[in-house]
């Protein structure tokens, strides 16, 4: 066993509605959306027009700054509609799958026999490049960079997260090929973070050509950003790439089979999900294909992603490119008489000792979207937030630097090391109800603008 890193800070949020490990629905959508908003730092340029026919893997969008970065269609069929919003902003490219599914053939290749340039070209050409995310900032990697290292987190500690063993256990060969390919792109090797809880039993343990790190701790211990900060912190000027296990499987499949395959098992979960389980589906598939899980409840919020950092897409929305979780929860619009004064409130969870959730550590809660308070200035001291952030960072100082737009301070307090989801638990416990992830996102946007 390689080095084990124990993270004492963090919080596992006890939400009910965990997905049972079985596939209860295989989705063949009647329309698929490619949404540029899924990709951070991507400025879309359209490569198709309405009525064009596309194959699975043929490019639909390209990046304006790095035209070699392509986004591909996950199905073969015809472009049904190009959806634009205000100021003609491109929202989605809708593709209707055809009768017969054709996959573009990129050719079977072995990463061992290719050099870094050829591997990059192969990933770029296939439209799988967006799976590679760079730190700092959490945006799409620049193909011209050579990263210091590549990091993969093989476990997810987010509430109700999909189990990587269940979703990807049968794709270890692809993942191994993906690792071999990524290892050629960096001098620092591919680092993989495993969970101390199932370190020995997980199939990720058997992967080769990797540097293994074992982490023990509560959420966000499974966030790749937290793991990087304990192994090889991101500094000014250095670049680290991260890939999800799902991305590795897709990249590996590209080399092993020569095709673009982003099909995945998605955990459909949450307090309001009906018989939460997994669905086999495609990114961009409409949420209406999961109607059986959502039910008819008027006040259901449908989230693509996890309950902390996912995007509200609604029943009309689509599954995000990176997401393997769909969370369904109740809109908490009811007012509660003197709620804050009620000494017990046993149905609600709180990490704060002024409630009694600590008496029932095993209990799961039917959480809803109520804010449970009003927005206020930061009152509690830094430690209150740092208790759930296992990084060498003063969260309140970083947030205040972001609010002030002070680039120097943001740098000093560690903006390079975080992306919004790393501070999601801080946002959860914040008694002042600040939108902490939004503050970090705005800070990152400002950094990007200044760095141009």
């Amino acid at each position: 066993m390689s080095n084990k890193i124990v993270l004492k800070r963090g919080l596992d949020i006890p939400v009910s509605g965990k997905a049972e490990c079985r596939i209860s629905k295989t989705v063949s959508p009647d329309v698929v959306a490619v949404c540029p908003a899924d990709f951070k730092g991507f400025i879309p340029r359209l490569l198709v027009k309405e009525g064009d026919s596309v194959s699975c893997g043929s490019p639909v969008l390209a990046d304006k700054k790095h035209p070699e970065i392509l986004v591909a269609s996950p199905v073969s069929g015809t472009v049904k509609e190009i959806v634009r919003g205000e100021k003609r902003k491109l929202l989605a490219v809708l593709v209707t799958p055809g009768e017969k599914q054709e996959r573009l053939d990129f050719g079977v290749k072995s990463p061992e026999s290719l050099d870094a340039g050829q591997i990059k070209a192969a990933i770029l050409e296939s439209g799988l490049w967006p799976f590679i995310i760079q730190r700092p900032y959490g945006i799409l990697a620049n193909p011209a960079d050579t990263p210091k290292a590549v990091f993969v987190s093989a476990f997810d500690t987010a509430p109700l997260a999909a189990s990587p063993e269940f979703t990807l256990g049968d794709r270890m060969a692809d993942i191994q090929t993906g690792i071999d390919a990524m290892a050629k792109l960096t001098g620092g090797g591919v680092h993989i973070g495993l969970n101390a809880a199932n370190y020995a039993s997980t199939p990720f343990h058997k992967l080769e050509n990797v540097v293994t790190h074992v982490f023990e701790g509560k959420h966000p211990a499974g966030n790749v950003g937290v793991q990087i900060s304990h192994v090889c912190p991101v500094t000014k000027g250095s670049v680290i790439w991260t890939v999800s296990p799902l991305g590795l499987a897709a990249i590996g499949a590209l080399f092993n089979t020569g095709t673009y395959n982003v099909r995945r098992k998605v955990a459909v979960c949450g307090p309001l999900a009906i018989e939460p389980a997994y669905a086999d589906t495609l990114p961009g598939a409409p949420m209406s294909t999961l109607a059986g899980f959502i039910g008819n409840s008027e006040d259901a919020r449908v989230v693509s992603g996890n309950i902390l950092s996912g995007t509200t897409v609604g029943r009309e929305g689509y599954l995000g490119f990176y997401d393997n979780t769909v969370t369904i929860l109740k809109e908490g619009t009811e007012e509660e008489l003197l709620g804050w004064m009620n000494p017990l409130r046993l149905k609600l969870f709180s990490n704060d000792m002024s409630y009694f959730s600590w008496l029932t550590p095993k209990k799961k809660y039917d959480m809803d979207t109520n804010l449970h308070g009003g927005p206020r200035a930061f009152v509690m001291s830094d430690r209150y937030y740092a208790k759930v952030l296992p990084m060498d960072i003063y969260p309140v100082y970083l947030l205040k630097a972001c609010l002030a737009g002070d680039i120097d301070k943001m740098e000093q307090f560690g903006i390079y090391e975080v992306i919004p989801e790393d501070l999601a638990v801080c946002e959860f416990i914040d008694p002042s109800k600040n939108d902490i992830q939004q503050i970090i996102a705005n800070g990152i946007r400002l950094m990007l603008k200044e760095m141009e």
């Binding site: 990490n351 449970h372 308070g373 206020r376 930061f378 830094d382 002042s432």
Partner: protein, 363 residues
């Protein structure tokens, strides 16, 4: 004026109901803790001190006019209750009006921070404080101590202590001496040879028993809420259990006080042993309830130690070496508040330097 009513209406509505607001961005679920809850916990922690203080006002009055005994619990309490209640009413009425008004001006929701401040103020002033003075002091503290900085969370000094400081420097005769601590009814005079001086200012004999036990129990004259160590310890337990107050600040303050007190003992300049300093005056109340205010105390963990130590050291230094002021806690905490940003700056700068070194090693 319309803004004022909106803010007021909103404040009362959210006081009655947790609003049905839902999350718009970021985490879709949120913890059920909010600032109202945190503030009400602090108020609950203050209740023992307030109740005891009311009783003690009655008890001291009985002692002063002669013939009273501690056994008359209810009459003593009722007397004190009637004396202290107007202080609460004035403190809340003036403070909340300003708070609602300025929240309306800023277009923000009313922050519940004043729930605590308004409760603290009557407990740290002499019971005989004239109400108009108190009103003036509250207005000063809330406007210039808090609202000009942008409201709760932005202030540098503890507003309750600013109220006391305003009274102390503007109307010293109403805030010190040997008579202000004892409430009288109209026409009453003190018994012959009576002194109502607090143990800190005591110079000679007193009517009340000035033993360590009575100091611990709190049956001595003083500001309304500060006398009973037992009641304050009860509050401290609540604050420490819920984690609202920092044990580091409290410990730092006690260690700092013992340190300077100990030096005073060794040098032979103190009138009481250093541990006794912890029991008298506003030290315990200040350490537990005022120094630990999360907004005005140091933010960083090592900063909290330094901040606490500083307050303890300053408090006893003033008590020992300054002949003008018998009590040093108020000024010690205000100085501590002033120094807190500087302490944090030093801690954070060293953190940044340490991070930079770490990066140079790993890079």
């Amino acid at each position: 004026m319309k803004k004022f009513w909106t803010a007021t209406k909103d404040a009362f509505a959210t006081f009655l109901h947790v609003p049905g607001t839902v999350t718009r961005s970021g985490a879709h679920v949120r913890d059920s803790i909010d600032l109202k809850r945190i503030m009400i916990i602090v108020v609950i922690a203050l209740v023992p001190a307030a109740l005891f203080g009311m009783w003690n006002v009655g008890y001291q009055h009985q002692l002063a006019v002669g013939g009273g005994t501690a056994a008359h619990i209810w009459p003593n309490f009722w007397f004190g209750f009637l004396k202290v209640l107007p202080l609460f009413v004035v403190s809340y009425a003036v403070g909340l009006f300003i708070e609602f008004f300025s929240s309306g001006l800023r277009g923000e929701e009313v922050n519940e921070g004043y729930l605590v401040t308004g409760f603290l103020i009557p407990l740290i002033v002499p019971v005989t404080t004239p109400l108009w003075m108190l009103a003036l002091a509250v207005a000063f503290a809330v406007i210039f101590g808090k609202e000009v900085f942008g409201g709760t969370g932005m202030n540098i000094w503890n507003p309750a202590l600013l109220t006391r400081a305003f009274l102390f420097f503007s109307y010293p005769s109403a805030m010190s001496g040997s008579e202000v601590w004892i409430a009288k009814k109209a026409g009453e005079t003190f018994a012959d040879g009576f002194t109502g001086a607090t143990p800190l200012a005591l110079d000679g004999a007193a009517q009340y028993s000035n033993t360590v036990w009575s100091q611990f129990l709190g049956t001595i004259p003083g500001s309304v809420g500060e006398t009973s160590i037992i009641a304050i310890l009860l509050g401290a337990c609540i604050l420490l259990w819920t984690g609202i107050a920092s044990w580091k600040v409290m410990c730092g303050s006690i260690i700092g006080a013992l340190l300077v007190g100990g030096i005073g003992d060794l040098a032979g300049i103190s009138t009481m042993p250093c541990w006794n300093q912890l029991l008298v005056g506003g030290f315990a109340f200040g350490t537990v309830f005022m120094a630990t205010d999360p907004v005005t105390s140091a933010q960083t963990e090592s900063g909290k130690w330094i901040y606490g130590l500083l307050i303890g050291i300053l408090c006893i230094t003033v008590r020992l070496f300054n002949p003008g002021y018998a009590e040093g806690m108020m000024l010690a905490i205000l100085m501590g508040n002033t120094a807190a940003p500087l302490i944090d700056h030093c801690v954070v700068t060293s953190h940044i330097a340490r991070r930079a070194r770490k990066f140079n090693v790993t890079a």
